[in-house]
Amino acid sequence: MKKAIVSIAFGLTASLLVAGSASAQATLASVKQKGYLTCGSNTGLAGFGLPDAQGNWTGLDVEFCRAMSAAIFDDPTKIRFIPLAAKDRFTALQSGEVDVLARNSTVTMSRDTQLGLDFPAINYFDGQGFMVRKKLGVSSAKELNGASICTQQGTTTELNLADYFRANNMKYEVVAFATSDETFKAYDAGRCDAFTTDASGLYAERLRASNPDDHIVLPEIISKEPLAVAVRHGDNQWGDIVRWTHNAMLNAEELGVTKANVDQMKGSDNPEIKRLLGSEGKFGEAVGLTNDWAYRIIKHVGNYGESFERNVGEGSKLKIKRGLNAQWTKGGLQYGIPIR
């Protein structure tokens, strides 16, 4: 009897749980209903997504989520960050655990077409590089024949590494670890001659070395790693919000609209600025937001250039040059699609 009661109770609770959660709807609507945005972020990568001891998040990817929160709620803090390991990130997005994944993830064709994901905005153009100790006297990745190389397992990095050494007919010893922390620790402890990951990651990790000046980043970039913000495939409205959040920040930079002068700029006669800040046209409403959506983004977060400088650029500890991420007018690849 008791067993029967227990099993009935179990079935009852199980069915209740299922019943309680069965409500699928458009992401924007569900975010508005919840009152906050869940953002998949890195477990800790300086410049991109890093929590401090109080749980305050900073970084380029983090500010992208803040920009979305600002556009939706007029408040950049209505976010819950879910730190995700490399291997969990896509399942977390697929399963609906996070609404948007801003976690320095490379977009590739297979990820775009086979995982049920979309990558509407590339917010950082990156590539895989190597870091070595200065005292080895190595100045090019081509000289790494026979070296031990620390890498994180289960990433494209690991595959690119194998391809690169095979293509250049060089030998190497791979030492793979499960997390980026363990990988870098092993390199710092002298287990490997070189450490490889995305170049941005190299600059970020170098800060954590016992003595950052002992290490240099080699000039070779052995792969293309466009780091993009990902959403679930099929919710086009939500994808549009991500795409245009990014483009609003790019356009703002190009037009010279900054966090500081955005209120001033509201009175500008420039039609492009007028469209951007919502005093002309109804662009925001078309994606389910208010027309001053871009104004909110810039007011609360700033334009792309500001965010870049603050988190990874010269104004940060990482001191990464704009390079590929400069505006197209300055020889970079960041090209804001016109709002009209």
């Binding site: 009897m1 008791k2 029967a4 009661i5 227990v6 009935i8 109770a9 009852l12 609770t13 069915s15 209740l16 749980l17 299922v18 019943a19 309680g20 959660s21 069965a22 409500s23 699928a24 477990t43 800790g44 929590p51 001891a53 109080q54 749980g55 819950r80 960050f81 879910i82 730190p83 390991a85 291997k87 969990d88 399942t91 399963s95 609906g96 655990e97 499960a178 997390t179 922390d181 363990e182 870098f184 620790k185 710092d188 800060l207 954590r208 070395a209 016992s210 003595n211 950052p212």
Partner: protein, 439 residues
């Protein structure tokens, strides 16, 4: 006469003080001789051990105490070249990070809630482990129901906002459940009253639990992603024990059952779980659980390893409990049956109280294993104590050669105190039970 006088000089008029026994038969020297230098082999062994200790102990003492650094705010204090003296353990690092090691990233303003959780846990554990504590039955209710509910509210903030629709569904489901029970009681011609009481009790407990976590207590919600350190370590261990004991008992009863399918199911579950490493169970919980659930249902990141650990511990607990059941003399079963008790009554009132009592040492030992195994959740990315130390030791502010050793020494001390304490407790209980059985 003269001779007689002379003779009398040799006769003692009183006893002289007895000589002490030979010096070597007792006292420290004799003890040393007996126990350390009783033969050439023994002497060699002793000397070898002394040499080993001479090599090992002074550096350890130097590292932990003599050369240790107790104060400082960054790595300068713990690097030999800046501190100007050899540096052992850098306790300043632990002191500065102690809040992170204890609470993880739990918001500083809300940490009093975690402290209350620690206190509630200590109360529950103390109540259950102290064999002469008053009302241990209430203690069990507290530990297995009230404490988990309170902890959930305290740590997450409660206020899950279930909504009116949910309550309507719940009411309907409860009514159906009660009706089914009543119908079963009617068909079986058993007492309607007890059936309704049991059913009503179950519904009430579930309802009260849901109502409690539903109420807005005014606590700020703290997502589990912020929890960390000792909080998570103790949480994983607690969930493991709260879940594994009842579930382990059910599994053990299933394995001892006469019903073949039930027995087979229990055996398969137990042997399967015991045959694989915990880490694979954790990875499975992490990667496969979301796959097995409906698409729009997600499980909290922290809850996944908790489920894995709970299942894992249950299988081991089941084997311990089975040992207790097997040790029960057959007369106990027969006596219970001859009193006309049915199976649940026999188990609940006669067998289990005795069987569980004799396996308390086994249960505690399983719990020690579970407590140590909680460190494995760090491998699947949960911020337990080990993971917070791993994360802290690469902090460039504290980059110094001995930081890693210091962090590990701190964690080792933490685990050792808990595990050693528990093992002493279980030894004590074992001795008490042994004297009980001698009578």
């Amino acid at each position: 006469m003269n001779t007689a006088v002379d003779m009398s000089r040799f006769v003692r008029s009183e006893n002289i003080e007895a000589l002490p026994p030979p010096n070597l038969a007792r006292g420290p020297v004799a003890w040393v001789r007996e126990n350390l230098f009783s033969g050439p082999v023994n002497t060699l062994l002793t000397l070898a051990v002394i040499y080993l200790l001479y090599i090992l102990i002074p550096p350890i003492v130097d590292f932990l105490f003599v050369n240790a650094v107790w104060t400082g705010t960054d790595r300068a204090a713990c690097r030999a070249e800046t501190a100007g003296h050899p540096v052992g353990a850098c306790w300043a690092f632990v002191i500065e990070k102690i809040n992170f090691f204890t609470y993880g990233s739990y918001p500083a303003a809300e940490r009093w809630r975690v402290n209350i959780f620690f206190a509630l846990l200590a109360l529950g554990v103390g109540w259950l482990l102290w064999l002469k504590a008053p009302r241990r039955d209430l203690g069990a209710i507290y530990f297995f129901w009230l404490f988990p509910v309170l902890s959930y509210i305290l740590l997450t903030g409660g206020n899950v906002s279930l909504g009116l629709g949910f309550w309507i569904k719940f009411a309907v489901a409860s009514a159906v459940f009660l009706a089914v029970l009543a119908a079963a009681a009617y068909a079986l011609k058993t007492s309607m009253r007890s059936a309704v009481l049991i059913g009503g009790g179950i519904v009430a407990v579930i309802g009260i639990t849901l109502a409690l976590v539903n109420v807005d207590w005014g606590l700020r919600p703290v997502p589990s992603a912020f929890w960390g350190g000792i909080l998570v370590t103790l949480l994983v261990a607690t969930v493991g024990i709260v879940f594994s004991l009842p579930f382990g008992i059910l599994l053990a009863l299933g394995r001892r059952s006469k019903l073949p399918i039930l027995r087979l199911a229990s055996v398969i579950f137990i042997e399967f779980v015991r045959g694989v490493p915990l880490i694979t169970v954790l990875i499975m919980a992490n990667t496969m659980l979301p796959l097995f659930l409906p698409a729009d249902m997600t499980v909290d990141r922290l809850a996944r390893p908790l489920i894995g650990v709970a299942f894992f511990a249950s299988a081991y607990m089941a084997e311990v409990v089975r040992g207790g059941l097997q040790a029960m003399p057959k007369g106990q079963y027969e006596g219970a049956m001859s009193l006309g008790l049915n199976y649940p009554q026999m188990m609940v009132f006669i067998i289990l109280p005795q069987a569980l009592r004799i396996v308390i040492p086994g249960i505690v030992n399983t719990f020690i294993g579970l407590f140590k195994d909680t460190s494995l959740v760090s491998v699947v990315g949960i911020f337990d104590l080990v993971k917070t130390i791993e994360a802290s030791r690469i902090d460039p502010n504290w980059a110094a050669p001995t930081i890693s050793y210091t962090g590990y020494a701190f964690a080792a001390l933490f685990y050792f105190i808990f595990c050693f304490g528990m093992s002493r407790y279980s030894l004590g209980v074992e001795r008490r039970l042994a004297t009980g059985q001698k009578r």
